[in-house]
Amino acid sequence: MSDSEKFDCLVVGAGPAGISAALALARAGIQVAVLERGEYPGAKNVMGGILFTTVLNKLLPEFWKQAPVERHVTQRRFSMLSRDGEVALDFRTGAYNEPPYNHTWTVLRSKFDRWFAEQAEAAGVMIVPGMMVSELLVENGKVVGVKTEPGGDELRSDVVISAEGVNSFLAEQVGLRRPHDPRHMAVAVKEVIALPASVIEDRFRISGDEGSAWEVFGQAVQGTFGSGFVYTNKDSISIGVGSTIHDMTRHRLNPNEVLEQFKRHPAIRPLVRGGETLEYAAHMIPEGGFTHLPRMVMDGLILTGDAAGLVNASHYHEGSNLAMASGLYAAETVVEAKRRGDFSAATLSQYANKLEHSFVLQDLRKFQRVSAYFNENPHTLRDYPDVMVRLLSDYFTVSEKPKAEIEKEVIRKFRSEIGVLNLVKDVFKIGRAMR
């Protein structure tokens, strides 16, 4: 690359958002380079492990025939842990065994992202690994390129798409976002644990390429605002925990200690028993949602994916698919801007409109109060799992006491421990937060 060379578009970051944007741009004949700070795409990329693939399937139809995906998810499980008990909602259906497999796959991101980047390269995208963008070049209030490290080289382009990821230093540099708030940023750690496929299939009651996804609340994360997860890969499982940095620090918790407690819980221990830890990883998740989004564009710049705060942190736990969608909309916007020869914020704001009219912002809007609710009502995740397990435990305890009497006692206990009114209030508030 010579210094004088100018690209149509520079993309910062080879994750789902950046690669989706670059792939779509290259197909539209736009000259695009992706600058990736890792030594290879995927070297820095981590998530729990579920990739929702409606957008991917549009970009690369029937991707599952080639892509390094692990298992398609046929079983979803949501549960709450008390100290030594569990209450669960467990759902499965054979319908998800048919293409397109309910667009839900477990993946290992370093493997997947590397493959995804190769598909973009084959379409004409220039991928530049080992290059960290240290700052945006700004002239007269307009982004005109980037400065990179090591070397301090300057690269110029008509427009920059930041798919930088959760830390989003570039958005902060140009004032598109305020400093991150520890109440709206989660820290998550995970382990990938090797187990024979047959053992995984027996433990999770799945067959063939079927997969299982567990989201676990309550004591999974010491009652903090977060959750644990267990996802099945082909011959490993991804297990992890995540909570807001605010809650973790408030309780003086170390993320790995929380993960170890989770792994030791009697409902979880049998899943990992005899396994071999292959890798340990840490990552943050932007959970501020709709009310804490940055400004999405300025002259010569578009924010996508985690860098734009596009994560649905409700029980749906979606992010990588929102990232891919945002990358695609950013690409469409750049194609239009190129046609007009105008990369001003006014033209690029089409991108925000596209997000508004898609599931991306419509879903974030729907769940906009979830984060505030749990921050204001920490007792919900801290106390309810214990109370529910205690009540069910009383209910199912076998004795010769007449059942009518047991029921009365359980109801009396429920009234004194939570109270009908409080429960109704909380259910109402959660319901409202989700509407």
Binding site: R37, K44, L108, M132, V187, V192, S236, T277, A281, A282
Partner: protein, 103 residues
Amino acid sequence: MSEPVAPADDKLKETIEDKLYLVKYKPDKQSHIEVIQEVFKADKLKVVLYICPAKVYTLNEETGECLVNHENCLECGTCAIAAPEYVKWRYPRGGFGVQYKLG
């Protein structure tokens, strides 16, 4: 309390040290982390000593200073949000740092 007896799971890692041993890095001699020691010393909570998932930060009991083992960093960025008053955390230079194989 029914704490189950841990089976002989010698390949299932528990401590941060054992887990980091499994992580691939391309270490950079140049540190990407800076701690403003005076602010750290004056801070009572010292959250970085426990919030960091990779134990990058430890306390030098004698001097009261914060020791930074930047080569362990998993590059999540949590420290900079938990303690922005004294931690200046940036990405390592391009090509350096953690290299996840699975992610």
